[in-house]
């Protein structure tokens, strides 16, 4: 596919806020300090399941320096949730009135003149609990005799999801070989560099300003207004810099809520920041999943049918879990064509930390099961895993029945490239193997469970007299570099340089509404809005250029590199800055302003576009200790037109570290609902020595729905890795890893079992 030559797009652009960040000038919510500000702390439940009989706050209130203590009784008691369209899924009171459902759930909050005093006051709050029987695992919680976690929710089943197409039973009939497996996928902490944090300031005019570490200023605004009984417009949410989100920061959290409640009572600013431990125990997590997978295939490698059942550990509340349940089931079919496909997902409440969306949104779990099983089937039948994937893979123009339409798809090229790469490695030493996994991911979820009447994305561009550009977007930069991406798209479209653009984001009062940073949506959706806004502004400028230059109207005009010119005769034109000045005068001084928006229509059930990839992981296993060493990760990746080369590399490396961590290091072990490792010594994120080389092979495609042909790049890259590592271990040692994370003792156990089986034979 050949594209127009771009001036800015697909170059190496450093993050436009990079200097502010590395020099410590960037003001994160953590850094916000206002005159008269108080410090808040949250008292949390020590019980996994208990009735709150009484809370006595008098001793805490009496402590000098304490300004307020609040409990659920001091709030409107609104049951909230991000699935606003569905009342039954709005199940979480951030300060519960009647009972607590997990260890770490907030029960009261204190604001005091110092953090130390607020912390000391927590000890003085007396909570009288009646401890209830608790249940921690979904397969236990779904039993008839299990304790009820939410009144009226039968068998603790929070949401179910059925996906089906084709005649599944008939398609299984046609299969020559059917394989069934059970898998267990673990949770994972989002581990944002910035823990949950908020500063709320309520003023006597009835308006609330809240600085928040959020993935969507607009969602935070809407959710806060809902629980506080304020008009949305009276709540201003500011999120100028956010230290990571990864899917964990677009719901209402206790920092936002308690700081706002206390500020409203005191008319003083209140700051609440989570400790790292609070972030671990009370800010939701990747959804743990049990998967049953049954796959039918013909002798020649043609996929017939797949049937899967999944039980997820929902924890105490819905969060974004309902979406994860759907997406896991949908991407479990990816990136292949199935004649018959059936998925039944059950999200089960338990008395544990709620689970929610996290980078990959249910797909990494789904791929861990699917992509390993495909390799095992290939081994069972003596088929070539590359060939089988190629044979059944999505192609351009394919329709996932009733679900999705694929416009651009570079899967086959991805498979070809990785096959070449793997072959180039030749024969590997003992105990070393390369595993592969392919997948795809959405490029912008088209869901509107929030029930927003605003367009999904919007942008406003304003051109100053000197040609500099103010770009106002609602999309949220959470460290992933979306402001830079938007600046690139704006600069390309307007024909100026990146440094001409100032991006304004993370402010609901000054920026247009946008659903925020989730579902891999910003490059495509906000990118389209920005492109449209800039085209609008450019059109206005070029109207004056026609008049000014007095040229025949059949000619096309354009601006590139700050030069407005005739496309056919680029030397004929005028400087962009002169054009702006003239246009301003002609418009009676009104600034040139362009508006753009994006709302998906008729794009199936999931997304307007899909990225594709295949990844290979080269790993070595120490047969004595079971320890894994990752040598290299190579990904062939179709993200349509890359917008920023540097951004893409950053996303790839970040995803590799997060997904490898999920695959073999990170775990959230609990005892009776209590997290055993809520600190960074015991919770094992990847450190520099473990981080392998991560390479990328770009596959060139053009996505008609994306701005300049661009698609998702970043979230989907988390999906293939655990499966590819599993396959590498299978290829190296002949053992099948069905449980995450792949720890040394699990590897040793599998090796031992294999030996025993061989001895029996």
């Amino acid at each position: 596919m050949s594209h127009a030559k771009y001036n800015v797009i697909n170059t190496h652009v450093h993050n436009i806020d990079g200097v502010a960040k590395v020099t410590g000038r960037a003001t994160y919510t953590f850094d916000v300090k206002l005159p008269g500000m108080l410090y808040g702390k949250i008292l949390r439940s020590p019980h996994a399941h208990a009735k709150i009989k009484n809370i006595d706050t008098s001793a805490a209130m009496a402590l000098p320096g304490v300004k307020i203590v609040v409990t659920g009784k001091d709030t409107l008691g609104v049951k909230q949730g991000i699935w606003r369209r569905y009342e039954e899924l709005c199940d979480e009171q951030v300060l519960p009135l009647e009972k607590v459902r997990y260890i770490g759930e907030p029960v009261a909050a204190v604001a005091a003149i110092t953090e130390e005093i607020a912390e000391a006051a927590l000890d003085l709050i007396e909570v009288d609990y009646e401890v209830l029987p608790a249940v921690y695992e979904p397969l236990e919680a779904i039993k008839k005799e299990a304790p009820t976690i939410h009144e009226g929710v039968e068998r603790n089943v929070n949401v179910t999801r059925h996906i089906e197409w084709g005649d599944v039973d008939e398609a299984f009939e046609e299969a020559d070989y059917i394989r069934e497996d059970w898998f267990k996928c673990s949770g994972q902490a989002h581990m944002c560099m910035e823990t949950r944090a908020a500063v709320s300031s309520f003023t006597p005019d009835g308006k609330l300003t809240c600085w928040a570490s959020t993935q969507s200023a607009y969602y935070t605004q809407g959710l806060l207004a809902g629980v506080l009984g304020l008009r949305e417009g009276d709540v201003r949410v500011l999120a100028p810099y956010v230290g990571g989100g990864f899917g964990g920061k677009f719901e209402l959290d206790a920092a936002m809520f308690t700081s706002a409640v206390m500020s409203m009572k005191l008319f003083k600013p209140v700051k609440v920041c989570f400790t790292r431990e609070e972030d671990f125990i009370a800010s939701k997590r990747r959804t743990p999943m049990f998967y049953y997978v049954r796959t039918g295939i013909k002798k020649d490698g043609t996929f017939c049918a797949r049937e899967s059942r999944m039980f997820s550990n929902g924890g105490a509340y819905t969060g974004m879990g309902a979406t994860a349940l759907y997406l896991s089931g949908f991407f479990h079919s990816f990136p292949y064509k199935w004649r018959g496909y059936r998925y039944d997902g059950y999200r089960v409440y338990t008395n544990t930390l709620p689970s929610t969306s996290m980078r990959g949104f249910g797909a990494p779990q789904a791929m861990f099961c699917s992509e390993q099983q495909i390799d095992w089937i290939c081994a069972d039948l003596g088929l070539d895993p590359f060939e089988v994937r190629r044979k059944n893979g999505h192609t351009e123009g394919y329709e996932v029945p009733g679900q999705a339409f694929i416009q651009s798809c570079g899967l086959e090229q991805c498979i070809n490239e990785i096959e070449k790469w793997v072959k180039s490695k030749g024969k590997l030493p003992a105990n070393r193997g390369i595993g592969i996994s392919s997948c795809g991911f959405m490029s912008g979820g088209i869901f509107n469970w929030f029930d927003s009447p605003y367009s999904f994305s919007s942008a406003v561009v304003t051109i100053n007299v000197d040609g500099t550009v103010e770009l106002h977007v609602g999309c949220q930069d959470i460290g992933q570099g979306s402001n830079t991406t938007m600046a690139i798209i704006a600069a390309e479209t307007l024909g100026v340089k990146v440094e001409d653009i100032r991006v304004h984001s993370g402010d609901t009062a000054h920026c247009p509404a946008d659903l925020g940073a989730w579902g891999s949506r910003q490059t495509l959706m906000a990118g389209n809005a920005v492109k449209m806004a800039c085209e609008d502004a450019k059109k206005q400028l070029l109207e004056f250029a026609y008049a000014e230059m007095g040229i025949n109207i059949v000619y096309d005009l354009d601006i590139k590199d700050r030069w407005a010119h005739i496309v056919a005769r680029p030397e004929r034109g005028l400087p962009y800055v002169d054009l702006v000045k003239k246009a301003l005068r002609a418009k009676d001084g009104q600034r040139i302003m362009g508006r753009g928006y994006y709302t998906p229509h008729r794009k199936g059930m999931i997304s307007p576009a899909y990225s594709y990839m295949m990844q290979a992981v080269d790993a070595e296993i120490d047969p004595e200790t079971g320890k894994i060493k990752i040598h290299e990760v190579m990904t062939a990746h179709d993200c349509g037109q890359p917008i920023n080369q540097l951004g893409l590399i950053g996303q790839l490396e970040g995803a590799a570290s997060m997904a490898l961590g999920y695959a073999y290091l990170e775990d959230m072990p609990m005892e009776d609902g209590k997290l055993m490792n809520p600190n960074l010594v015991d919770y094992k994120v990847i450190k520099a020595p473990e981080m392998p080389e991560a390479g990328i092979i770009e596959i060139d495609t053009f996505e008609p729905e994306g701005p300049y042909g661009a698609k998702e790049a970043g979230e989907g890259l988390t999906n293939p890795t655990a499966a590819a590592l599993g396959n590498a271990i299978y290829n190296a040692m002949g053992i099948q890893m069905k449980e995450l994370p792949i720890t040394p003792e699990r590897v040793l156990k599998a090796l031992r079992e294999k030996k025993e089986q061989e001895a029996q034979k």
Partner: protein, 333 residues
């Protein structure tokens, strides 16, 4: 998590240090690099009323070779130990053990004395105050149960220091100074093997330095550590070994010390097991039986006790082989 209140003192001499403690009659803790102490204070596991920094006291730093001994001041940082060619050349287990501690930024401040004198660890104990409040206090926290060994009658918290086993395998001694004056003790004798109170040192005793006999050319040492990640992580099992070979590569002596296997590092006598055989024909299977009996491994670190027990012989063998290879190299030079 904020630090609790305490008074802070920076004496310039040992005498001043002891006088300060006496005068204030406080519950004192010495501060060296603070990388063990400060996290414990943040968790509310150490609640001293006074902190006495050792950093300004003269004469507690530096590395010297004197009369067949390597003398290392207790306040010497791990970075200085790692950079010393005397140590890496003649006492490689110590160099390796220091490099195996935490990660490079920690080496810059962490000290030798602080590393030896670090507290024992346990996943049920090394937790914030809020975390622990939700559970009955265990023995080490002043209570009456052990969460790691539910029917256990004592504390199985784990000594996770990397450096002590190396020093034990190298036959080191510590010079100490207390209210009663200076003394010298064998390194292994610093440990009580009691998880509640892991050290034999009298209250307010300062380790002033470490004294290591420099081995002859036929004897070399090595250190092996099992940990989850190769940075930050404490040992799950670790082993230090000194091996002496004769010119025919026959083992004439082995000293093995293990860490992260119980409340104290353990010295293991292998003279009946490995001595008198050629290193390349040595049979290590006996280690599988010998080692677990000498250790008290429970389920209280990042990976299960059953796994760590299996790893004892694997890691011990690695340390012995490293040492033997070095000794053999020296022999041929």
């Amino acid at each position: 998590m904020r630090l609790p209140e305490f008074s802070f003192h920076e004496p310039l001499t040992l005498d001043q240090a002891f006088a300060t403690i006496k005068k204030n009659n406080g519950n004192a803790r010495f501060l060296a690099g603070g990388t063990d102490l400060v996290p414990l204070m943040k968790f509310g596991l150490e609640t001293p009323s006074m902190i006495v920094s050792l950093k300004k006291i003269e004469g507690l730093k530096g590395i010297a070779e004197d009369n067949g001994y390597a003398m290392i001041g207790a306040l010497t940082t791990l970075r200085e130990i790692i950079s010393s060619t005397v140590i890496s050349g003649k006492l490689p287990a110590l160099s390796e053990a220091a490099m195996a501690v935490a990660a490079p930024p920690v080496w810059n401040v962490a000290t030798l004395g602080g590393n030896i004198r670090q507290q024992t660890r346990c996943v049920y104990y090394n937790q914030s105050r809020a975390w622990r409040l939700e559970k009955e206090p265990c023995f080490k926290a002043g209570g009456n149960v052990c969460h790691a060994v539910p029917r256990g009658k004592k504390c199985f918290s784990v000594y996770c220091g990397d450096i002590a086993p190396a020093l034990i395998a190298l036959d080191a001694a510590a010079t100490i100074s207390g209210m009663a004056g200076p003394a010298e003790v064998r390194l292994i004798d610093l440990f009580s093997n009691d998880g509640l109170s892991p050290f034999t040192l009298e209250k307010n005793t300062i380790i002033t330095g470490i004294k290591i006999p420099v081995p002859g050319a036929a004897s070399r040492s090595g250190y092996a550590k099992l940990r989850v990640r190769s940075a930050i992580d404490y040992p799950l099992v670790s082993a230090a070994a000194s091996v002496a070979l004769d010119k025919d590569s026959i083992i004439t002596g082995v000293k093995l010390a293990l860490s992260a296997v119980g409340p104290a590092p353990v010295a293991i006598d292998l003279n009946g097991v490995l001595v008198g055989v050629r290193i390349d024909t040595a049979d290590f299977t006996a280690l599988k039986d010998v080692l677990p009996k000498k250790t008290q491994i429970a389920d209280n670190l990042a990976l299960p006790g059953s796994y760590r027990r299996k790893m004892l012989s694997v890691i011990a063998k690695k340390a012995i082989m490293k040492a033997a290879e070095r000794a053999a190299e020296k022999e041929t030079i």
